[in-house]
């Protein structure tokens, strides 16, 4: 996973070019895979470190929410708390954000592993391996302000056009 600031910045950049509608849902979509799929696993492993008898399998289970075939139903599930007519667009923006998250994560290189993109249908792992796992730490201070600026300029432009 890349850091969450970079993921949110990519969401703002994307929406600055693609149109600002449902920016909040899309931005939340870009952090959703880590919030739902990584944070619970990290917390459970920490609890094991404190001596709690948590089975190893349980620490891996939330990881399915960081896979496309886990993200899609999660986005639909979350969209169900919105009003009926808005649900399809909200779910699409959540899932679009998740896919952008995956695209950024796939750029990374992990030792001997990749992302199981087709689970539960296949155990095939893949990543492009173009950047290190911490490369976004150096990019975040540049990309984050740029994305906010791009989004602000877009909102000004939209306001001028009425």
């Amino acid at each position: 996973m890349a850091d969450l600031v970079t993921h949110m910045a990519t969401a703002l950049l994307f929406k600055a070019f693609a149109g600002r509608k449902h920016t909040a849902s899309f931005t939340l979509g870009t952090v959703l895979p880590d919030l739902a799929g990584r944070v619970p696993g990290i917390v459970l492993v920490k609890l094991v470190g404190f001596g709690l008898p948590i089975p190893e399998g349980l620490t891996h289970a939330p990881g399915v929410l960081h896979m496309p075939f886990g993200m899609l139903p999660l986005c639909v599930l979350l969209a169900l708390v919105f009003p009926e007519l808005q649900r399809p667009k909200i779910a699409a923006n959540f899932f679009g954000g998740c896919m952008l998250h995956m695209a950024v994560d796939l750029l990374q290189h992990h030792t001997g592993t990749g992302y199981p993109l087709l689970f539960p249908f296949s155990s095939w792992h893949f990543e492009l391996g173009l950047i290190g796992t911490e490369a976004t730490v150096l990019l975040a201070p540049i990309v984050a302000p740029l994305s906010v600026l791009a989004w602000w300029l877009r909102s000004k432009w939209d306001a001028r056009r009425g």
Binding site: D3, M8, L28, E56, T59, A61, T111, T133, V137
Partner: protein
């Protein structure tokens, strides 16, 4: 076709059934994945018990936490399992994040032998950025959504 599928999935009438179905599917998927991912750990442990079957086979331990640094070995933790590894001859300190490729030992009382390893010196900064991201995500959620008639709606 697509229109009727959309209606089926997102309508108020089918909402409880769709939600139940999704939760059930995600629980099954999580259970399946936990079985797959723990199988490899069990395989490695079995290999250390009967090393002849997998002599010199490699294990990939990405992003492990260094738990102990001994005179000749280090202990790293991947998920909930500790691995004792020899052959990392760079300076390593406790709680550092390290990725290691190592060979399975010839007997259970011997350490794994490191073939290659990678330090992650910026990991602490990545964690800090992600914590900042968590706070920002919380702010986006609170600032961009509100509850109206028992439904969440986007502001603006």
């Amino acid at each position: 076709m697509l229109q009727s599928l959309r209606k089926l999935v997102f309508s108020d009438r089918s909402r409880p059934y769709v939600a139940t179905l999704i939760v059930g599917y995600l629980v099954w998927m999580g259970w399946s994945y936990s079985k797959v991912s723990t199988a490899r750990t069990k395989e490695v442990v079995a290999c250390t018990q009967s090393p002849d079957e997998c002599r010199s086979e490699k294990v990939f331990l990405a992003l492990t936490e260094v738990r102990e640094v001994g005179p000749d070995t280090i202990t790293v933790r991947k998920s909930t399992v500790d691995y004792v590894i020899a052959g990392v001859d760079d300076p390593v300190h406790e709680s550092e994040i390290l990725s290691v490729i190592a060979t399975i030992p010839d007997s259970p009382d011997q350490p794994f032998q490191a073939v290659s390893w990678e330090h992650h010196p910026l990991r602490a900064w990545k964690v800090r950025l992600s914590l900042l991201g968590l706070v920002l995500a919380g702010a986006v959620t609170l600032g961009s959504f509100r509850i109206e008639n028992r439904r969440v709606v986007e502001r603006g």
